[in-house]
Structures are given as structure tokens and as C-alpha cells.
């Protein structure tokens, strides 16, 4: 697979008569883009708003942030398989991307209606809370969208995410025929055989267990969110958006997956520091010990069969999902694959271990600090001048977890001081926060 990625840096976004890109400025024909979104009869309302770095703006509820990418040559479409998109294998040919911006999916639609799982994330474009995330450096084009309220929850999720992807496609068209100012070739060329072979084991939450549905909305692989055995992905497939869609945390958005610094550094140092073999994607939250161990065994086997001598492991979730992740690490180590685990930690009150099931084989851990905002001591985000999205946010206190959305909470004004969402969780190591004794 060989992918030529053409980057168009976006330095400003304005609304105007036609959607076009010129010398860094992206002009967006608001009416045309909204009209394209509203062609889907499942959409009840849609508006576009801009949030720029440094502004006193808060966006809520943030379901996803997506970087516009569009396929120019080669099979398939970017973000394949999502919301009915083509499922042809991607990663070959040419792709154009609009860098420095995000399309933000803002909607009141919740992930599913089985309970326990709520949309939590809001983003600030300035101030101490905003500083914690990479999005405040992006020019964010926000699609504030609501679906027909009579639809079932899964269809609502599909409709609003499809709407966001429609905006992505509309913007992508603006650079389809242009020459990109920056180009980079991505391929796993043959390298010095003495270089160590490494694989990236990328553990991704499946919503199947929590929602009771194999098709609930979440981060997806070619549109599939259900529990599946480990899946080999060429890194070019990730660059073309084959692994995409949000999880529940601010660092698990389509944008962070496509711009994962760990993946990019593994890729760019291929041939220099190692022989990068690719990505093994492991779905998590299987609900019996046998299934968890089976996935761990098969992940390690796949890595070994690919020839891996080393592996970096990340995950995006919490709770019992840790078990298949740490047991994959154990299984790899037992097959002689040296692993490094990049992860956050839990509360350590009273000297408790900060991992659910510490295993001695997980002996090389890089910590991105506590995953709960309350343990990190993150204060309330300060008041802002402008809100994009809903005017109130439900918070529920009374437990040190932070807050969950839910009908039995208190509604606070979005524009006022607001407690952070309960999880921070820097899954891919964007930041330098960690823990020590």
C-alpha cells in the first residue's frame, strides 16, 4: 500500500458565497453545506458556527471532532463504512486533508438508550480547561444538528454522524483539484533486516456489552463497532479513516485517531529505528473470562505471526476492559514480544494499586497520569462569553467520580463555570502529564 497524503493547512475559516480554499483561508458556503446536510430527511435542524482559537467560546455537547480528509485517487472513500459509506479497503493512492481544523459534531443525541453511557465532553477555545486538549488550537467548524425526535436511538446516532461526515465531504471537495502545499508519502517500504520489528496493538472499546446491541454507535472499524477478533490494519487504512468515530472521552475523537502521535511517530521512524509492521486492533469489553483470554491469546499470536519482536499497546477505556488489554500484554511477553504499555492510572488512595489487574509481565508502563479529572484536581472551567450548542449541561455530584449526564442531575448554565467531564484520559500520549511516587 502506498499513500500520498496532501496537506492543506487551514489558517482561517470564514463564511462566504462559495466553498473554496485559497492560501490557507477556507471559505465556507454555509447555506450550501447546510442544504447538503438537510437533504437527509432524518435531520430536523442544522446550523454551522465557527469557534476559533483564543475565543471565549464553549462547545457543548461535543460528540466528535473530525478532520476533513478526502480520497483523490485509489479505492474507497475516507472514513469508510461509517453511516452507510463504501467499505472498499482504503490506504492506497492519494488523499487530501485540511489540517489545523476540525468539524465538530454538536448534538443532544446520546450514545444509546441502555443507560450508563452519556455524552460528557465540552470543549473550550481558551482558558485553563481548553489548554488541556489539542482542539483549542484548531479552527473548529461546528455543526449543531438535531435529528427527527421520533427516530430510534441508533438511527439518530447514524443520522447526526452522517451529517457531520457530509460537512467533511463538502469541505474536502474544495481541495479536490488543488495542488497540496505539503506532501508526504506513507508506505511500509522494505528496511534493514537488522531493525527490530514492532507492532502497535490498538485496543478499542466496543459498545456492544454496555448497549446490548452489536450496532450501537462508537469508534468503528470500517463502520463496525461490534466485538470482533483482533483485526490487522495497515497504518494507511488509519490515515484514510478506517478506524474512526468517537468513544466517550475527549481524547477519543476521530481527529485524535487520525492524528495519533504514537502512530505517526511509529510510521515516520520506520526504517530508521524499527521495522513498523502495522496495527492490530483489538476490540474490548468482552464479558466472560474465556472470551477475554481468547482475544488476548489471538492478539499475541497475530503479532507473533507477523514477526513482531516488540509492541506498543494503548487502550481507550476503563473497567473490566483492562483485563483483555493486560492479558494481551502478558500473552505477548510469553511469546517473547517485548511490550510497552501507554496508559492512564486510577486513584491511588491508601496506597492501592492504580491498575485493575497488575500483572508482572506488564513491566514497561508509561503513565499519562490519573484518568479522572477529580483525581487530577482539575478545577471548574471558567465562565465563557459564548456557547455553541445547548445552553445547559446536566451534572451530577454527590460522588467523587466527577459527573455523569443523566436525568437526575442538576442543570447548570453552559456559559457559567462548569465542572470538567469525569474522565480526562490521554489515550495516545499527546501530553506530558504523568504520575510518580
Amino acid at each position: 500500500m502506498r499513500l500520498e497524503m496532501g496537506t492543506f493547512p487551514v489558517t482561517d475559516i470564514v463564511f462566504g458565497r462559495t466553498t473554496r480554499y485559497e492560501a490557507g483561508r477556507l471559505t465556507v458556503d454555509r447555506d450550501a453545506v447546510v442544504a447538503a446536510v438537510r437533504q437527509d430527511p432524518r435531520i430536523a435542524s442544522a446550523e454551522l458556527e465557527l469557534a476559533k482559537p483564543g475565543e471565549s467560546v464553549r462547545i457543548w455537547p461535543v460528540r466528535d471532532v473530525i478532520e476533513p480528509r478526502i480520497k483523490i485517487e485509489g479505492p474507497g472513500v475516507c472514513y469508510p463504512g461509517m453511516c452507510g459509506r463504501e467499505i472498499a479497503t482504503v490506504g492506497d493512492g492519494r488523499t487530501h486533508r485540511l489540517a489545523g481544523m476540525g468539524v465538530v459534531e454538536v448534538s443532544s443525541v446520546n450514545w444509546h438508550d441502555a443507560g450508563g453511557d452519556f455524552v460528557e465532553t465540552y470543549l473550550d477555545m481558551s482558558g485553563p480547561y481548553g489548554e488541556m486538549y489539542p482542539y483549542r488550537k484548531l479552527l473548529n467548524l461546528c455543526l449543531v444538528v438535531e435529528p427527527d425526535s421520533t427516530l430510534n436511538e441508533e438511527v439518530k446516532n447514524y443520522a447526526v454522524h452522517k451529517a457531520a461526515l457530509t460537512v467533511v465531504d463538502q469541505l474536502g471537495e474544495a481541495v479536490r483539484r488543488l495542488t497540496p502545499p505539503e506532501r508526504e508519502i506513507f508506505e511500509l517500504a522494505p528496511v534493514d533486516p537488522k531493525l527490530p520489528k514492532v507492532v502497535y496493538i490498538w485496543c478499542v472499546h466496543s459498545p456492544q456489552a454496555m448497549s446490548g446491541s452489536p450496532s450501537a454507535f462508537c469508534t468503528a472499524t470500517y463502520g463496525l463497532t461490534q466485538l470482533t477478533p483482533p483485526w490487522y490494519l495497515h497504518p494507511n487504512e488509519i490515515l484514510d479513516g478506517a478506524l474512526t468515530g468517537p468513544y466517550r472521552t475527549a481524547f477519543a475523537m476521530s481527529w485524535t485517531v487520525a492524528n495519533n502521535p504514537l502512530l505517526l511517530d511509529l510510521y515516520r521512524r520506520h526504517g530508521r529505528d524499527w521495522n513498523f509492521l502495522g496495527v492490530i486492533s483489538l476490540r474490548t469489553e468482552w464479558t466472560t473470562q474465556t472470551e477475554k483470554q481468547l482475544m488476548a491469546n489471538q492478539t499475541a499470536k497475530l503479532a507473533k505471526q507477523l514477526g513482531a519482536q516488540g509492541a506498543v499497546v494503548t487502550w481507550d477505556a476503563g473497567g473490566n476492559e483492562f483485563i483483555e488489554v493486560v492479558r494481551s500484554i502478558q500473552a505477548c511477553e510469553r511469546l517473547g514480544i517485548k511490550t510497552v504499555f501507554l496508559t492512564s492510572e486510577d486513584d491511588a488512595t491508601d496506597g492501592a494499586p492504580t491498575m485493575l489487574e497488575p500483572l508482572p509481565e506488564a513491566d514497561a508502563i508509561v503513565s499519562t497520569s490519573f484518568f479522572k479529572n477529580v483525581t487530577l484536581g482539575v478545577p471548574d472551567a471558567p465562565a465563557v462569553t459564548r456557547v455553541i450548542g445547548l445552553p445547559t449541561k446536566i451534572v451530577r455530584r454527590g460522588s467523587t467520580i466527577g459527573l455523569h449526564g443523566g436525568v437526575d442531575g442538576t442543570a447548570l448554565a453552559t456559559a457559567g463555570p462548569l465542572p470538567p467531564p469525569w474522565r480526562y484520559d490521554d489515550h495516545y500520549g499527546f501530553g506530558s502529564l504523568s504520575c510518580t511516587e
Binding site: A209, T287, T288, Q293, N320, I323, E357
Partner: protein, 71 residues
């Protein structure tokens, strides 16, 4: 302790651990007929009770599906 994710109970120090069916339905299986579901749940519960009558040296796993635990 009855749990479907029993290994982690063992590695964190629980001494009498009985394998449950699944996280969402620990003592039984709703995909079975009501009679079989109940019999399955009873098998899990009786083997759990039996472990209370047995000395164990440390964290020990008991599988209700093993013959020794047949009621």
C-alpha cells in the same frame, strides 16, 4: 465470590472464586429455557456454597461445570 471474570478475582487475592456465567447474568443464562436457566443458576449457587465447606490454601477457582459440583 461468584464472577464471570474470575481470573482477576484470583490475582487480586479472593480465595474462593466460583466461575459465573456472564457479567450481565452471573447466576444463570437467559438464552436457555426457564427450567434450564434455573438449573444452571442452581448449579452455580450450590457449587459456591460447597466451596464454603472446603479448606483452601489460597486463591482457588471452582468451575460449577465440573462433575464434582453436580448437585
Amino acid at each position: 465470590m461468584i464472577s464471570a471474570i474470575y481470573n482477576f478475582a484470583l490475582t487480586t487475592g479472593a480465595n474462593r472464586v466460583i466461575r459465573g456465567a456472564r457479567i450481565e447474568h452471573v447466576c444463570g443464562d437467559p438464552t436457555l429455557s426457564p427450567e434450564k436457566d434455573y438449573a444452571f443458576g442452581m448449579r452455580i449457587v450450590t457449587s459456591a456454597l460447597r466451596t464454603l465447606t472446603v479448606a483452601v490454601p489460597g486463591p482457588t477457582l471452582f468451575d460449577p461445570m465440573e462433575a464434582a459440583h453436580a448437585s
